[in-house]
Symmetry: C2
Subunit: 256 residues, 2 copies
């Protein structure tokens, strides 16, 4: 049965998509069967995985609005080594349409039940908000990965995010927990980064991944080639860090 | 009559809040009368201006839902030199409530009409999405400032943003135009940055500001002190760049 993980943080630009794409590729490199779901109308995780969002015949929009099944919408046999359920601008309409539907928080979960046993990991990338799309992701998941840029505004917003996760745990999904907090774009030379990182370790302890993702230009260049960093430049510090993260995630999962 | 500017980009983490706060402070330093409106439930522009979002008795939420007037909700006589209409988590509810209201796209514009003549500039910071809150901002504005990190995902999303601005111009606000595209966190050593910047200049020409905001750690440190960079460290490259931007904006405005 797949472990389903939501990658989310309502703060923008903290590395959600970069983490989703590169963690999916790293788990696939460890011979895990992986599905990456893009729940962001920007479609960045779709493009970053080499799938042109403008060419999608079926996307997560059709899945959520009952126009297609997961099996029909999922794209397989990709160069990146993992399967993709893509997104594009159509998804913006899903937000308003979902509001009118019954069991609107569970549309994604109901659709994934049919395919979950075909994967070891399902990762869900999210837009920078705590909207009904993200509620659907959290209601479907075993855990939440929180990418966290070690800066003031990102730290300021984490309590709202933890509050939302607690609410979903109580009302919609009792198995939901924080899988891990991931420090991203980490620049040890900045005292601000170090201060915020110390805050996180003090407050969240073991929930903070030991693996830290450094700021590394290769991670910013790879998406323009539609590739994860381990395929664009496998010896880069960014690619190595995400492989290490995949290792840490698998070790923690095996221990449970 | 105030010039009303929306600062927006649905891509997350591109410097919308940093631009809103520092441009407001720089215009105030030029003795302009400035109001900064925070339309993001994260409340970053509120906190970045030294106003504790948890202490707000009235916020933009009450304004949009007709529970208070602009005059009652605006906070004046602040150390930062400009007035603030703050936001906090309550604003998340406004999104759904606005959907049920008449003239829902014009709630902000109607509220601002009463105070617009008291200011030279009104800046509106937005969340990383193209939602009804941002439609309200665009429907109220003379122009749009688009902060733009020179990286792939940010470039990828700009055509959707320009499309939205065109639609608002046609249907809701015929005076709306792109005021300027601002290159932020600019690191000239990265070839990716240079490539994306060349793309922007080729495609948007004069609409791209000559002023470029460099990556400068002082801009990331200032918010934790609740201050704009020109008050936290006025000789920093970040503070100087935003003063230059204010100068360029005023020159362009005077020429019109
Ligand atoms: N460790 C890193 N080093 C250097 N650049 C990075 C790193 N991680 C992400 N980036 C770049 O920073 C930008 C923001 O990252 P990304 O788009 O993954 O964040 P996000 O949280 O998904 O943003 P959004 O809130 O818009 O969904 C992108 O241009 C990305 O390429
Ligand atoms: N020029 C710069 N140099 C260094 N750091 C910067 C610069 N501009 C912004 N930052 C930092 O980068 C992060 C993202 O900036 P900011 O929060 O202003 O972006 P935003 O577009 O408002 O994000 P959101 O999409 O969440 O609203 C913040 O931690 C900020 O302090
Ligand atoms: Mg993203
Ligand atoms: Mg912001």
């Amino acid at each position: 049965m797949a472990k389903i993980l939501t990658v989310t943080n309502q703060k923008g630009g903290v590395g959600k998509t970069t983490t989703s794409v590169n963690l999916a590729a790293s788990l696939a490199a460890m011979h895990k069967r992986v599905l990456l779901i893009d729940l962001d109308p920007q479609g960045n995780a779709t493009m970053g995985s080499g799938v042109d969002k403008h060419d999608l015949t079926l996307s997560v929009y059709e899945l959520l609005t009952d126009q297609a099944s997961a099996k029909e919408s999922i794209i397989t046999n990709l160069e990146v080594g993992y399967d993709v359920l893509g997104a594009n601008g159509d998804l913006t309409a899903a937000e308003v349409e979902l509001l009118q539907m019954t069991r609107r928080e569970f549309r994604l979960k109901m659709a994934l039940d049919a395919v979950a046993d075909q994967y070891d990991f399902i990762l869900i990338d999210n837009p920078p908000s705590l909207s009904l799309l993200t509620v659907n992701a959290l209601a479907s998941s075993d855990g939440v990965i929180i990418p966290m840029q070690c800066e003031y505004y990102a730290l300021e917003g984490i309590s709202a995010l933890v509050g939302t996760i607690d609410k979903i745990h109580e009302r919609l999904n009792p198995r939901l927990k924080i899988e891990g907090i991931l420090r991203t774009m980490f620049d040890p030379r900045m005292s601000l980064t170090k201060d915020v990182s110390d805050h996180l370790l003090e407050y969240f302890g073991d929930q903070v991944y030991r693996t830290v993702i450094p700021r590394n230009v290769r991670l910013a260049e790879a998406p323009s080639h539609g590739l994860p960093a381990i395929m664009y430049d496998k010896n880069s510090r960014g690619a190595i860090a995400y492989l290490a993260l995949a290792g840490e995630l698998v070790r923690r999962t095996d221990k449970e």
